[in-house]
Symmetry: C2
């Protein structure tokens, strides 16, 4: 399939001819490469300016073995939390002159592998995996990530893996959920429900935090942790799901969720059953995304400091690509943002 693609633009060769210098000199001017007299530099720059010449990035990439591109893999680019992460990452990457190649993977492992291949085929310099969903509990499912790391740096946001060339920046979810749950019990709740939607690295850690807090208060941590199928993303369907849990007879007067969307579902659930929030049901979400503001009452939520995480991530990448040594794992502490739902 022969395609139009691009009309023939000027190249470094045309410029060199018109400026009566060699291509080498033009290249030097282009790259601010010290050794070139002020006189020729300005002359060359003038020719470049006159033609609005821009060097061909692909050719440059071939020479340098890099197009200065970083790949971002995210399960669902439109999910608020991930969209926000993508936004921050692109911003920070651009500041450092990296372009962002985006690829949405969906939640299926096989698809993730395929999309990873698709990204790698473009010779990106590094790849960022956003969201804890990328690290599966079944470690054999993660082999493809290690394989990638044998080629280029892999940076995980909100997940972690121990392997050379795999780096991670994450927030301490476990502690965060522990503190949220503990606070609910301490301030009077009888039964706190924990709802999560994936048994990912992060899901498991959040669960552990919940267990710990529940045990501290001598509560039944097992029946009070419920897993909502992660195919369910619509708020109403989440509320439906909670209905089904409620119908089993489980009583709870507070909830901590692994995600704001789940919490939004919980609020809808409360509305349906005329359970006043926060009086009879207190809800704490996770991510502090802008979903929190749309809810009524607004959601208290655990802020996992996404902007800081993204900044650390990009710092790590540029450090790595400039051959610096950087820490393999960084962990930040979350903070709870209180709003109307508690």
């Amino acid at each position: 399939m022969p395609a139009l693609r691009q009309q023939n633009r000027m190249n470094i060769y045309d410029i060199s001819k018109e400026a009566n210098v060699s291509t080498a000199t033009v290249s030097r001017v282009l790259n601010g490469n010290a050794k070139v007299s002020e006189k020729t530099r300005t002359a060359v720059l003038e020719v470049i300016r006159r033609h609005g010449f821009q060097p061909n990035a692909i050719a440059r990439g071939l020479s340098l073995k890099s197009m200065n591109m970083v790949g971002i893999l995210a399960a669902d680019c439109k999910a608020p939390f991930l969209a926000q992460a993508i936004h921050y990452l692109e911003d920070f990457l651009r500041d450092r002159n990296y372009s962002t190649v985006l690829c949405c993977t969906g939640y299926n492992v096989e698809d993730k592998k395929k999309r990873m291949e698709f990204l790698l085929a473009k010779n990106v310099d590094a790849v960022i995996l956003v969201g804890s969903g990328f690290v599966d509990c079944d470690d054999s499912q993660n082999q493809y990530i290690r394989d990638v790391a044998d080629r280029i740096p892999v940076i995980l946001i909100n997940a972690s893996m121990s392997y050379p060339n795999i780096y991670s920046v994450a927030c301490d979810d476990r502690k965060a959920v522990y503190e949220a749950t503990e606070w609910l019990y301490r301030t009077g709740s009888e039964n706190v429900l924990f709802m999560y939607n994936q048994k990912s690295y992060s899901g498991i850690r959040k669960l552990a935090g919940f267990h710990e807090a529940a045990r501290t208060y001598g509560k039944d941590w097992n029946t009070y942790s419920v897993l909502c199928p992660n195919e369910i993303t619509n708020v109403h369907e989440i509320a439906d799901f909670i209905d089904s849990v409620y119908d089993t007879g489980l009583k709870f007067d507070a909830a901590v969720t692994a995600d704001d969307n789940l919490a939004a579902g919980m609020v809808k659930f409360g509305k349906r059953h005329l359970i006043p929030i926060p009086e009879k049901l207190r809800v704490i979400g996770f991510n502090n995304s802008y979903i929190t503001e749309y809810c009524e009452p607004e959601l208290t939520s655990i802020d996992n400091r996404l902007e800081d995480l993204c900044r650390l991530c990009v710092d790590a990448i540029s450090g790595l690509l400039e051959q610096n040594v950087i820490p393999h794992n960084e962990m930040l502490s979350a903070k709870i943002i209180f709003r109307g739902s508690t």
Copy 2:
């Protein structure tokens, strides 16, 4: 700044040696290029498989003058509507084997120009501008877009410009707002407020639709159209803004907004003043984004068929890049999705 980038991988040359064929043959096998005997094909494929060889996309790109990449420019990649568009576009582009290079521009024109340059510097094959904000009322501000179109195809989503190599897919906002407003008046509203946040191509058209409907009912269309500064994105600040409008003494019992977020602000405003929705205030948003579901009551909203728009957009791009002739402007009709707020 010398960077690590990438370890030396195998190249087509290594493969050719090991398979005892020429690089040409390897290339042919790689590209499914008919003329190669079944025997050598399988032999070459075996060598390729054994080494997990992947051709270098950058070198390939240099030869083909294309890396099969499309740039997407969006003002705010985390805004629900735009995030959704990005998601659809990336999906459809990937289906056709194009990678997506993402770039968030912000709302400032100078920044948009800079980001456009940044994207173009990467030699993308085409660029998609998502959101009506890219076409300014002051047409001289749009010159940079025409300049780009002199190089590569430009496709606008929800905007329009008349120029060679600029294509557009849009939804008929004008008609949509007209119909929504007309419906509100017809079903009993006394004074419908129209709120928008940018004097963009689309903002202007929506406004026109409102004016037309208001005039039809002999209403004062001028004082009832208010422009909310588009720096204000937070729902509460939007509600604050509406407060200030309300304080001027303007009375309204219905509202059509150019965006779901504005409508969400309107709902918050209603809550603050204890104005029951929809009984005393009916609200219709725009975009039918998932913000609609989080509101209480849920938002009636104008669905501008984003998925269809994105599909048309990607169809247009691949058509163009395959040298086909495609229509310059496509326009779809919106539809109103009724929910609790009316």
